[in-house]
Symmetry: C2
Subunit: 343 residues, 2 copies
């Protein structure tokens, strides 16, 4: 499939291994995932601490099914990221690395099998910054992955926390694309209703706060060249920016903390388009700029966007902007050339 077909690059898709490695230590057993067959053919349960965390389909690990689905969605290239629950920040780092290494190897295997169709992002044990840097270096140099998926927080520390700064310095040096995905969100005690509200409602707020922490910590200023993308259209960031901008004019401490306007930072981040609404996507494009937004679908999970390019078609955009949203912005985020996807 050639880019001339007008297909898209989907930067937000998830990968789950068909089988997990054996639990390396009784200490991590309550957190360690294992896979069990589901009732339906091709379905498997991700079991954690004796409970079914999520039932997933073979789309998660079977690249042939993925490729068929991609054709139906007019997507010719997917970026594979681990299912966020696998990030394992809550385990001791060495044990977590056993799991993450297996996930990273399997993502790399999928990419090697179809390099024109897939790019891959690794997972790293960010609860130990030095080990995380080692795993990122290994994943990029030895496995050929393009960057890393990280959570919005690491055991409660937002991505702008100074503890994590050496990781971002290393990522900038390595040229890693960083995809920021919500995990363990704040606000669960404010929800009234079924557990699905966690990902439906708490995720975007968590992502908005993480993006603000990247702004107030000046991650892009401190680590030139860093490429950060936020999932779900940046979550609530677009609603937070104007108030933060106004507050910077009202409170001297905020003015001192923010040398550049929040919007200048925000317009250097990348975002996926996964907001499920024409008017909201149009608003994000106006706020963040048409060069910063990329197709994202959450494939293959239940909440996925099934026809992502139709969302773009519904917008009043120039041909250049449309091509940017479909492909070119993702290529800049991944630091890849269009030609490299056709080899």
């Amino acid at each position: 499939m050639s880019p001339a077909c007008g297909c898209g690059i989907d930067v937000h898709t998830h990968f789950v291994p068909r089988d997990m490695p054996a639990c390396p230590s009784p200490a991590v057993r309550p957190f360690w995932p294992s896979m069990q067959p589901g009732q339906t053919c091709g379905h498997r349960h991700v079991m954690i601490d004796g409970r079914n965390f999520r039932t997933v389909t073979e789309q998660c690990w079977d690249t042939d099914i993925r490729l068929a689905d991609m054709r139906n969605m007019s997507i010719d290239h997917q970026v594979l990221s681990p299912m966020p629950e696998l990030l394992s920040y809550w385990m001791p780092a060495r044990e977590a690395q056993v799991l993450l290494r297996e996930v990273n190897e399997q993502i790399a295997q999928a990419v090697r099998s179809h390099p024109q169709a897939f790019s891959g992002l690794c997972a790293v044990p960010l609860q130990d910054v030095d080990l995380a840097i080692e795993e990122l270096e290994y994943s990029m140099s030895s496995l050929g992955l393009d960057g890393v998926e990280i959570g919005t927080n690491v055991n409660g520390l937002p991505i702008g926390h100074p503890t994590l700064a050496p990781f971002f310095e290393a990522a900038a040096r390595l040229g890693a694309a960083i995809f920021v995905h919500p995990i363990r969100p704040v606000g669960l005690d404010r929800l009234v209703g079924p557990p699905a509200l966690e990902q439906s409602v708490a995720f975007p707020g968590e992502t908005g706060l993480a993006a603000v922490s990247a702004i107030t910590a000046d991650l892009l200023g401190r680590h030139p060249g860093l490429r950060l993308a936020f999932s779900h259209g940046g979550g609530t960031l677009a609603m937070l920016l104007p108030r933060l901008t106004h507050a910077r004019g009202a409170f001297p401490a905020l003015r001192d903390a923010l040398a550049r306007t929040p919007l200048e930072h925000a317009r250097q981040f990348f975002y996926d388009s996964l907001v499920y609404d024409r008017a909201t996507l149009a608003h994000l494009i106006e706020m963040f700029g048409e060069r910063q937004i990329m197709v994202g679908t959450d494939y293959p999970f239940a909440i996925m966007e099934r026809d992502p390019l139709a969302r773009l078609e519904a917008l009043d955009l120039s041909a250049d902007a449309r091509r940017g949203l479909r492909r070119d912005n993702a290529l800049r985020f991944l630091n890849k050339s269009a030609a490299s996807l056709n080899q």
Copy 2:
């Protein structure tokens, strides 16, 4: 001043008494506010637990200064609400009521002195729902106030929590206008920077979650006639709605929990216009409807919007819509006639 002048009704302004009542019990001393003179003439410090919570100006209690400021802002009517920190949900309810009663009496006094210029919302001790209903009844029937300002949560319980349902039932019966303001927001541990980030960044997320809890608890369906307004343009709600709407189609438990679409609920709430940005305000009008948004400024605090009507002028609106945003939507929220403000 007559409405024909094109002036606006500002539904989001705050009141602080010049002096607080004496602390009624040693048990609440760590929470009890007192006022101390500031260095600058007309400034006073709100002291709580030996610390200066906020330095406020005489605009907070002096109605003559308010009226002069209102003329400069082209506002001919303000709704007076307590400074949210005074809501005192964290005190034993009986002691809190001593403070709230004084605040409510002083707001009522300001309204009585200039009934054409001011409406008033009371504070109630929502940590004790029965007592809160009593205070609301007293404030409306004896003090002539129009409703109540409530926090987004009561000691962590979001407004949609079943514990609070009897209060909303009473508010609907009494015809109270309810203004929901963020307080003690979630997400403080996700902020990297000065304390001003709490109100600048955490407030909108807290309000968005409160509004979602009002949707998932079906507050308007369960209590017909209830009039709920959310501050700061509903916070992050506009960014949460499309994802919640999509998730309702993807997760059967959410479909079961939400008989109507989230947007149907959201388009029955009121919102203030306090988002400091033309494109964001235009997006809110598209999302929530031009009949649900009202002028709000946060007068007289540091973060206030100084020229609220200019924000409306910058929008491409019909004359009817403009008049709605300036005045008519607020009159519907307050359940008042235009004539009543001219008597």
